[in-house]
Symmetry: C2
């Protein structure tokens, strides 16, 4: 199973819990999975409990260091500004994401976190990986809630 396939499983599990379906996986330089999580904003009543933040925190605890050099963060949706800024602070080497998020994304949209001289670490970015599968999950989730306009807000 690829990291993105695992991230999609986490996103599906999040949807079953009533969370916006976004999943994330952190792998180290050898490709080993260090942490995986789905969005838990509702469960934790915490608007920052995005899948990426949970995975970064879990990986840091597991690996013990202050940073996560050489690691890749794979996530089903373009990270928001909060998560993009956290990826830079943790010195993540590479970000792979599924669907682009014109409404709330922070890498290719909005504040474009990595594209400023004040960003002290810029991960490599690969977007659009298994984009359709990720979008399908989000569309299905919001269609059931009859609010497709909010399709990318967690």
């Amino acid at each position: 199973m690829t990291p993105m396939q695992l991230a999609l499983l986490e996103a599906r599990a999040a949807a079953l819990r009533g969370e916006v379906p976004v999943g994330a996986v952190l792998t180290d330089a050898s490709g080993a999975v260090i942490a995986a999580a789905g969005n838990r904003v509702e469960a934790l009543a915490d608007p920052t409990a995005h899948a990426e933040m949970l995975v970064l925190r879990a990986a840091r605890e597991r690996l013990g260091g202050k940073f996560l050099p050489g690691c890749t963060l794979t996530v089903t949706l373009e990270p928001c500004p909060l998560c993009a800024a956290a990826l830079a602070l943790f010195r993540i080497e590479r970000v792979v994401f599924g669907a682009y998020d014109p409404k709330s994304g922070g890498i290719e949209h909005g504040p474009r976190i990595f594209q400023h001289p004040t960003c002290h670490h810029r991960p490599e970015v690969i977007g659009g990986v298994e984009e359709r599968a990720s979008m399908a999950l989000l569309r299905e989730f919001f269609a059931e809630r009859r609010d497709p306009a909010n399709s990318a807000e967690r």
Copy 2:
């Protein structure tokens, strides 16, 4: 004591622990202090353990809700992009900060988090409150470490 004076005390306490001296305080609509913290990046070995993030998390736990409406976040240094994005997600009403941070700030510098249509909540921003006292703490801290060029990196 004003919230900024309390935030400055937290910043001084952080410096004594060997942390970059930044302190933050969260007050509710009545002005009551809900949480106060200094930077704990080194103590927690977590590059996201900025004073603002610690205060937001503590306040959310104390108040119980998912958001912090009507609350004011007072911090001695202009928040970075991570913290600015978190302030928007928590729907903070007002941000009061001390020193401006041209190197790592995310409100008046860099990605200017609140100035994009994709930012779904924009707190009122008041910068430069007790700016000199905050800058003096940061300068003293970095002068002791002989690396004034990094004066605003936590």
